[in-house]
Symmetry: C2
Subunit: 354 residues, 2 copies
């Protein structure tokens, strides 16, 4: 496969010091490359990282120029193809070798960037990252970790939401260790509580998988609070929740679906009478704040934990702000040495038994 | 175990014609027996059924008298014990033989009522109903079916939400047949669409269980639309969704948790400034209508499909209106001959292959 040419957008301004570099797949969002370019500009202006924008070079050059961002330390690396939301992950991987997401992953693999951000087709990004970057020592299955808002203000993190189906107990054990480290580093909690998603909080509740995983999790050197229930995702009882990737995917999509229907019903209810219409207008800003709080793109997307290098997957509907947040989290992930900690803690915690 | 005495509250008004009778566990809700008694009175006034209220006889007599309902066709059957929300299901079954839910189930088993309604401890009601009533011919595992509101207006039904964990493909097949009949009869749809809850809508997406179940479901004489995703629970794409009871329980509790946190965040957002506070006050009625639409107690609780007789399980927080709705659905369930249809259609659809 052809190696993509590296195009320096504006060499002169690239900082000499070893600032960390994040590759941004510029062709992932529904509004690509607008949100990506704008998000990269914001991240760059805030000094979060040096950015490598990956995508059609002429298009990206034009966009950067149009925004007057020529002097920022933003590099462009050309990629001639894009994966669409309709592409099947495995097929896209084989057929679109020069896709922006694969090129971004290769930049990370080759040390030209320390992390990548993509808002593209989640399955395809995961496939690209798993194959191109490979797994960390001790990790059988990289896991996608999504953050949810809670009524306590701080987020809870659920993993795997990335469709690792038919998990074995040892996979959930690895998810627990990876998720706990991620939470410590990115959300700044010293001893995050870890729960196992089940159908009742009593120890013996659950299915075959969770009952076996329970026994393993309680031996780990972390703050395991036992079984938790679906409602605990949102009530702040626990910071990290582990589950099979089928369950996690269903949980994520149910939440998205419910938020959509509530927003629609609310709007409908509130525009049905003149008084409530006035009320809606008066409370519009409050609604915006509210929607922002339940919007998980605020948390900068979901990291694929357990791959070599850093891979943040953002929502396809991400705006520039969400892309910037994902870049920020990717940078914190690198600076916080999450992967080193994962390998060290997996080696320390698990081989004694497995 | 002692057979409970049958106490006729007011024999003279019991109708001679064979109106159907629903036994109501009067000790299930958080406000028991107030919501149950009031719900029974409403149901009785609307002529939905003759009601048998099951619980402490003196208490129930007093409540009915206090409400001036002595002349309604409401009978009281004494039960000396109540199951609490904290009781473990199996233990409650063995230790509290004279609990209101067991007494209600025995009335159904013995033909003294055609259906029962309980808002008590869900696990304990299911255990009582499964053991006392037994399963219909052809049903391996009775399943709890919950209704959800959708943005299209009509409800969707998810089963199993009753913790039938580690299901086999043939269980999901039975759930599909039972759920489809329930939807047809209670929601009045001629050919409800049936989906299999998975992690993508393509045929091959899913885990071991769903991939095998998929092959069985597509052979059934019903409108199977294939795999559906978590978000389809709320968007009206499909009427009946089947899944393993672990997934269904998580789906239900995540939805409940999310609705709670959204309500809390919304209230907080809307009372943070004077303008939005005014907006909130002006739109209060709209909020009430909205909350009513996402409140699944509106649908009258969840039936335990596949047991002999009818068992509707209502939410512990049910008010009188929800109890009345559950009584109405129980009556429609009997009149619609749901169980006969289940046995007939299971016999017709499945033995050819199993």
């Amino acid at each position: 496969m052809p190696r993509p040419p590296i195009v320096h957008h504006n060499d002169s301004v690239l900082s000499a010091k070893a600032m960390l570099r994040i590759a941004v797949d510029a062709m992932g969002t529904d509004t690509a490359p607008l949100s990506e370019v704008e998000g990269a500009i914001q991240a760059s202006r805030e000094g979060l990282a040096e950015i490598v924008l990956v995508g059609p070079q002429d298009l990206l050059k034009r966009e950067l120029a149009r925004k007057g961002a020529q002097r920022l330390p933003i590099e462009i690396v050309h990629a001639s193809e894009s994966v669409t939301m309709g592409d099947a992950a495995a097929k896209a991987f084989r057929r679109k070798r020069d896709s922006s997401m694969q090129v971004a992953a290769r930049l990370v693999r080759d040390g030209k960037a320390q992390g990548m951000v993509s808002a593209g087709n989640t399955g395809a990004v995961m496939t690209s990252a798993k194959i191109i970057l490979g797994a960390l020592e001790g990790v059988d299955r990289p896991a996608l970790a999504a953050a949810f808002p809670t009524s306590k203000g701080r987020a809870s993190v659920l993993l795997d939401v990335g469709a690792n189906v038919d998990c074995k107990p040892q996979h959930l054990e690895q998810f627990a260790i990876m998720g706990e480290i991620y939470y410590r580093v990115i959300f700044g909690a010293e001893r995050p509580r870890v729960g196992l998603l089940s159908i009742g909080s009593e120890d013996q509740k659950g299915n075959e998988l969770t009952r076996e995983a329970f026994l393993r999790l309680k031996e780990l050197p972390l703050k395991f609070v036992g079984n938790v229930e679906g409602r605990d995702l949102y009530n702040g009882r626990v910071e990290v929740i582990v589950c099979d990737g089928f369950i996690g995917n269903v949980a994520l999509k149910i939440s998205e679906g419910l938020i959509e229907v509530i927003a629609a019903l609310l709007k409908e209810s509130l525009s049905s009478t003149l008084t409530s219409k006035m009320g809606y207008m008066l409370s519009r800003n409050a609604f915006r704040r509210f929607k922002k709080r339940v919007d998980y793109t605020e948390y900068g997307g979901a990291p694929l934990l357990g791959v070599r290098g850093v891979c943040m997957i953002a929502h396809g509907s991400s705006n520039a702000h969400a892309i910037k947040n994902a870049i920020r989290v990717a940078a914190e992930f690198v600076e916080g040495r999450v992967n080193e900690k994962i390998e060290r803690e997996l080696a320390g915690a698990i081989p004694a038994r497995n």
